[in-house]
């Protein structure tokens, strides 16, 4: 569990959990069929509520990144590299649509976006 949680962030904790674990899965850091720790253990480790962990796991399952075997645990779905790349890009693109709409509202051209992004990155 290599997770960093910020209690003060505006992002809900379950969302932080979901984002970080899905990123790890899609980067290939968590192998296929890897068994996630039981939610109670994860909750203890991360010092968050069980409900919070459960919500994050559900979100992962809804995105097809893990599957639950009742009584056994939660396992990382087996995905081909292509599928992983596909899913990764889908998730990023979805976020980018929101991000760019913000930039556009300020009248930025894509060149200006690149310029500023380079500074920040």
């Amino acid at each position: 569990m290599n997770i960093a949680i910020s209690n003060t962030s505006e992002k809900p904790i379950y969302q932080q959990l979901f984002e970080q674990i899905s990123a790890q899965i899609l980067k290939g850091e968590l192998e296929s069929a890897y068994c996630l720790p039981p939610i109670r253990q994860a909750a203890t480790e991360l010092r968050v509520s069980i409900i919070t962990v459960k919500k994050a796991w559900e979100e992962l399952e809804r995105h097809g990144l893990i599957y639950t075997v009742t009584g056994k645990g939660c396992f990382v779905t087996e995905l081909s590299s292509d599928d992983m790349l596909q899913k990764r890009n889908d998730m990023i693109r979805m976020q980018m649509i929101i991000d760019t709409s913000y930039y556009k509202s300020f009248g930025l051209t894509i060149e200006e976006v690149f310029e500023l992004l380079k500074e920040v990155y």
Copy 2:
């Protein structure tokens, strides 16, 4: 008042108001010393509560984009083009720091970000 409000959006209404108006000011669409509509009128027009409008206006004032004269109304602060560009870029950069941290968590290089961004923009 050229404002679009989404009641279903996850973003609070006052935040939407703030973002859109600040964008309009920093794009130069609202001239210096322009008098914003009275909060009660704005609230009626936009079909939101007075308090929601007030909260947005307060945020604008806190960012130095407008100033309030009690009993008279709220006016757009006079800013030089340089100041406006500065403030605009500050606001965007602030958002970009959040955006890029998300991209980075997926292990994307800046080139990959540009690639995907170009598709979306």
Copy 3:
């Protein structure tokens, strides 16, 4: 009329008027029996509402600093230097009671107040 008005200040304009004129009177800058400008003229000069000027003049009269002769104008009350000093100190002391209660709430001793005041003055 040597008056500076701030529209953005939190202090109401009539209060600003009252404070500045009473200060001028009690500093002896406005001679006894000096005739203040008619409220309409003052309002035009200062670019404020007649009502605002009237309110300030009323406040001055209530404090015994001017007196009104209907149809003739408003005149500075004749005061001995002692009376002036007395009134001046009364006004300042009244304000100081409020000011010091704020300092005290932070647990400041009078020595610390002096220290900080010296920096600011």
Copy 4:
């Protein structure tokens, strides 16, 4: 909650709340990471509206004196004694600039201010 509220004061209630609590924090009366009472409870105790409390809390947060964890509560920011002294003096100095401008308008020297202040304190 050792707070005294004056409904007759010219100062808005949320401002009174803010001033008294910030003073308590900066005097070290409220320990770091101390959890403020829930806004609803505070509102009931103090017999004011929830919104009034919330506004005061927001002001405290904006000044970096507390931080909010949604769903958990509001906590006093951990500050070093130096930071606390710094912030305390900043707040007082800010007020003193206003206070002294009033004294100055009467032509008072700093010695005269000290003299009168000593009487009042």
